[in-house]
């Protein structure tokens, strides 16, 4: 069984935010109206997290890192779900079952990374956006929790393709939208248990760290720290 993981090289990341938009379109994440976004209900599965500011306004230089569900090996969200609407798959992906979620938001309260988003309401989507929905991903109704799934639908597709071609699933077959779109190739994705894969090598890099290691959630999203100038 593979164990999918991601490595984000902050040295290469130029904070362009392409991963954020790619994720939003790939997964049909709801576009929230401005008033609701101002209230703190903007929905992102992948977002840019400001971790530092240099200088003061207007010459401010924020440092931010791409932030997504950390796909923990010991997830705290799946523990508390009363109806098993979120669970860890055998391949390590922490998945959501949308038709099962009752919307109690306990998983959101227990996620130390605040990675989960809730469909507070259904805003009217721009017409252009509705035309280009990704048909592989269901559009979630209001009142349920959702989050990054490592583009699990792509894995499904890749598996079926490989099966129809009578071959095994190869590393390049399955890659999430954010990793695919990254212009500076800062996001690596693959099987952490496969010693030949790039991510398995990168997680032994001396620059590697995970967010809030001390909590023991064992995230499968690794970061490579930026070298200070």
């Amino acid at each position: 069984m593979p164990r999918y993981g991601m490595v984000i090289d902050l040295n290469k990341c130029n904070q362009c935010g392409a991963c954020v938009t790619a994720c939003k379109l790939e997964n049909n994440v709801q576009i929230v109206s401005k008033e609701n976004a101002d209230m703190g209900r903007a929905m992102y599965w992948m977002k840019m997290l400001d971790i530092n500011y240099e200088g003061s306004y207007p010459e401010i230089r924020p440092t931010n890192i791409p932030m997504l569900c950390q796909q923990c090996d010991e997830p705290s969200c799946t523990k508390v779900c009363p109806v098993r609407a979120t669970y860890k798959r055998d391949d390590g992906i922490v998945a959501q079952i949308y038709p099962q979620c009752i919307g109690c938001r306990y998983c959101m309260a227990n996620c130390p990374y605040t990675a989960k988003v809730f469909n507070w309401l259904k805003d009217e989507q721009p017409v252009e956006n509705e035309k280009c929905y990704n048909t592989d991903v269901s559009v979630r109704p209001k009142g349920i929790v959702e989050k990054c799934t490592f583009c699990i639908h792509r894995l499904q597709k890749a598996k079926e393709n490989a099966k129809s071609e009578h071959r095994k699933l190869e590393e390049d077959d399955y890659i999430p939208a954010c990793a695919e779109v990254c212009p500076s190739n800062a996001i690596y994705f693959g099987d952490l248990d496969d010693p030949k894969s790039q991510v398995a090598k990168l997680v032994h890099d001396y620059r590697k760290f995970t967010l809030q290691e001390e909590l023991g959630t064992k995230p499968k999203v690794y970061y490579l720290s930026a070298k200070s100038e």
């Binding site: 609701n36 703190g40 109806v83 009752i102 938001r105």
Partner: protein, 445 residues
């Protein structure tokens, strides 16, 4: 009903059932309107989604969960206090137990509905039975609340049976209902014995269930990794807070009904003095827990914990935090330790302060922890919307309406227990006292 045969010494306890004043209807109408407005706002929330509330990210729990914890806390008034007083054979309990038990019943229904109001998809509530995970604290919660509700309604109902039989024998309205509910109780020796046994078993059973309920509710919070929630003393802290707010609510209810239904002969200054002392003890205990909780946080000085700590003490929530300390500690301390202020109005002021303070305490526990997540997010904010406020008002009106409804069906003070007390207590208590005291003939020289 006007038959002189039935006019007995406790007539004043029967009167609310048969006589309804005009102001009762006016108040009931106002409360029904408030309740219906709450229902309307909830239907609106069902249609538009939880976006009509003030909740957001990261503050994903708000008024509903706060009110839920608060009301379940109030429910401890009841059964627990009445069970403990019965168990310890405190004679002054007799006019109090019924009202305490009624509080529990009504408040558990209202509190129990709140998590469902809070759900994004209440239509899927049955998933909890179909595919519930017992590993989730929410399931523990549901289990213990339903167990508590079952036990406490039976515990309310059993001591009610002799009174229902009295009402049945008087005839008049609702006679059919009373006939069914009284189960043919005639007050024979055997029936009395069985009833007493059943009450005794239940009263012992109800105490651990009651404590488990609020412990489990605190575990919803303390089982998470959130700063400010992940604390080992949350279980007993919540239980103490629950009993604290419960006694305050009980005192308020007693004072109101004493005034409205003229129960002055039954609820005397001494009852309020005893309950006031109990309230003071709980207030001190509450302060002790709060102090221990925050001192350890402050001394440890862990950055994520300190963010929540400072948010409460000097940050966005400081008015609520300090108001809570004033309401829960200073006001009860001033009013309940001073002999001049420990009158019935004084105790009422302290009780109202405690109820407000305990609601604020739940607010202080739920929101600041969510507003300050571990990662360096901008601090969240939470302003309740009209929907949430109107549902809180609706819940409070439902509580009052429930009591008003009960007062029109059943006596608010246990009549048979009063009669029993009058007939037997003096003898039983003096016999008991003689058992405690060293007997005269045994003084050794």
């Amino acid at each position: 009903m006007n038959d002189p045969q039935y006019i007995d010494e406790d007539e004043v306890l029967f009167r609310p059932i048969y006589e309804t004043s005009k102001s009762f209807y006016i108040l009931a109408a106002v409360l029904v309107v408030l309740l219906l407005f709450g229902v309307f706002m909830y239907v609106r929330q069902l249609v538009y989604g939880l976006g009509v509330t003030g909740m957001n990210e990261p503050v994903s729990w708000g008024f509903y969960i706060i009110t839920f914890v608060f009301f379940i806390g109030i429910s401890h008034a009841g059964t627990l206090i009445s069970a403990i007083l019965r168990l310890s054979k405190a004679e002054w309990r007799r006019p109090i137990t019924r009202m305490a038990e009624v509080i529990t019943g009504i408040v558990l229904i209202i509190g129990g509905i709140h998590p469902i109001i809070d759900l994004g998809r209440p239509d899927r509530i049955l998933h909890i039975f179909e595919r519930g995970r017992l590993q989730s604290p929410l399931l523990w919660d549901m289990t213990s609340i339903t167990a508590y509700f079952t036990a406490s309604t039976i515990y309310l109902y059993l001591p009610l049976i002799p009174d229902i039989a009295l009402l049945r024998d008087r005839g008049g309205k609702f006679n059919k209902l009373y006939r069914i509910l009284s189960w043919g109780y005639q007050g024979t020796e055997k029936q009395k014995h069985v009833l007493e046994r059943a009450i005794n078993i239940l009263m012992v059973m109800v105490i651990p269930i009651a404590i488990s309920v609020h412990t489990v509710i605190s575990w919803i919070f303390s089982m998470t990794l959130q700063p400010g929630w992940h604390s080992t003393i949350f279980g007993p802290y919540f239980v103490v807070g629950a009993i604290f707010s419960g006694i305050a609510a009980l005192i308020i209810v007693m004072i109101v009904f004493r005034k409205v239904f003229h129960f002055e002969d039954y609820l005397k200054q001494i009852h309020f003095n005893y309950l006031g002392t109990l309230l003071l003890v709980m207030s001190l205990l509450w302060f002790y827990f709060t102090f221990a909780e925050y001192l350890t946080t402050f001394y440890g000085h862990e950055p994520t914990e300190m963010r929540v700590f400072l948010y409460k003490f000097i940050g966005g929530y400081y008015p609520f935090f300090w108001l809570m300390v004033i309401c829960n500690f200073l006001i009860p301390l001033i009013f309940l330790t001073n002999k001049k202020l420990k009158t019935i109005p004084g105790i009422l002021v302290a009780s109202i302060a405690v109820v407000i303070g305990m609601w604020l305490e739940r607010l202080i526990i739920v929101v600041p922890s969510l507003a300050n997540p571990r990662l360096p997010y901008p601090t969240g904010m939470y302003i309740p919307s009209l929907t949430e406020v109107s549902l809180l008002v609706a819940a409070s009106s439902a509580f009052i309406l429930g009591f008003m409804g009960f007062s029109k069906l059943f006596p608010l003070i246990s009549i048979w227990e009063i009669k029993e007390g009058r007939e037997e207590s003096v003898r039983v208590v003096s016999e008991r006292l003689n058992e405690y005291l060293p007997s005269k003939g045994h003084i050794r020289k």
